[in-house]
Amino acid sequence: MEIQQTAVAGTMESSDIMVTISPNDGKGMEIDLDSTVEKQYGKAIRKTIEDTLKELEICHARVRAVDKGALDCAIQARVKAAAYRASGEQAYRWGDAVK
């Protein structure tokens, strides 16, 4: 998937994360994180963002994330929503059926 434009998903409410994804012109992945739990979970949040983008086969993107204590599943969901919006792609690829 290729990032074509800037797009946002999520809110600044508690337990949410606002993710903004923009094109990064072949310069790989850049993640700028601002989190209320940066000290404790900053590394893990960055990894979740990165893994989610990799799952979508996105190699180049600039990500700005403002986290308000979101669970992993919310981070994944917001990154996916922002990425699909930024790519203009609407044929969603869902993971394999959950066992």
């Binding site: 998903a9 337990s15 949410d16 669970l71 992993d72 599943c73 969901a77 996916k80 929503a81 969603y92």
Partner: protein, 297 residues
């Protein structure tokens, strides 16, 4: 043990905080909403959120339900593509007007199951009836699919369609409620009542719960965890009811042992419907944990 559906808590599909906390309460079912509580521009985000939550949050033994958008639209089909794959939730169909609406949704569900190696028929469905046409077609809706486990009344749209509004005693809903209940019973599935929106009117809420319990509904959709306790209180059989039911079941077993055809208890004849009601009381009492196996209350 029967699946309890006394309380079905609505959780807006685009609210991570509420989705995170939805499992900590005592309700029987959680209904994640992708439809009316989500704005058109956020449908995709809510779908990802509910999908990821279903895939990763352990909600224990609570029944999970997702209200999808109209399955004749791309948005509704996208909802089904995501939710059916999780194999975790019942699909709740909104604004069902006739059997065809259920069958259209079922067809999509069948296709997604087949494409993803999901056992055919494993995804269950519920239908919400929210219009005059839907109420008049309640029986054909309830009997339209083996996947249906229940039908529910959605009163806000229904009263708008009737050109009236909700009143404290709910007289305007009596016909719709009765139709939905009869249809559910004819189909052998559950009947779920509509939400009560005035969270601060606890007395009015209790009156409504008592009314729908008396009508025969299996439970109620709720919009706030504060409403759970009241519904469960109303739906829990009293000690007196349980004792009476135990006495009836004992009397019938005793009569069977003696080969007696006519059974009486405290001077009153016990016939088949009385036994069936007693058995249902005991089943419910066991399911809610106020009666242990062996008859201890």
């Amino acid at each position: 043990m029967r699946q309890l559906r006394r309380t079905m808590l609505f959780v807006p599909g685009n609210q991570p905080g509420m989705i995170k906390d939805a499992g900590i309460y005592d309700q029987d079912s959680i209904m994640f909403d992708l439809e009316d509580s989500v704005s058109v521009l956020e449908k995709d985000a809510a779908r990802f959120l509910v999908y990821q939550a279903l895939c990763s949050i352990d909600y224990g033994s609570k029944e999970l339900v997702v209200r999808v958008n109209d399955p004749t639209t791309k948005c509704g089909i996208d909802d089904l593509e995501a939710i059916v794959r999780t194999q975790k939730a019942i699909i709740r169909l909104p604004k069902t007007e006739n059997a065809q609406d259920v069958l259209v949704c079922q067809q999509e569900v069948e296709r997604i199951e087949a494409e993803n190696g999901i056992p055919a028929g494993s995804t269950k469905m519920m239908a919400a009836i929210e219009s005059a046409a839907g109420v008049l077609n309640a029986k054909e809706i309830a009997c339209s699919s083996k996947r249906l486990v229940g039908i529910a009344l959605g009163a806000e749209d229904y009263v708008t369609d009737l050109k009236t509004r909700r009143s404290p005693d709910g007289i305007e809903l009596l016909f719709g409620r009765s139709m939905i209940l009869l249809a559910a019973r004819a189909a052998g599935i559950d009947a779920i009542d509509t939400v009560y929106s005035d969270i601060n009117n606890e007395e009015g809420f209790r009156q409504e719960v008592e009314l729908i319990h008396q009508l025969g509904f299996d439970g109620k959709s709720i919009i706030n965890p504060r409403q759970i306790k009241t519904v469960h209180e109303v739906y829990t059989p009293s000690q007196k009811d349980i004792q009476k039911a135990l006495d009836i079941v004992d009397a019938i077993e005793e009569a069977h042992r003696k080969g007696s055809g006519v059974i009486a208890l405290n001077g009153k004849m016990i016939d088949k419907p009385v036994v069936a009601r007693a058995q249902r009381t005991l089943d419910l009492a066991r399911a809610v944990g106020v009666l242990r196996e062996g008859g201890e209350i």
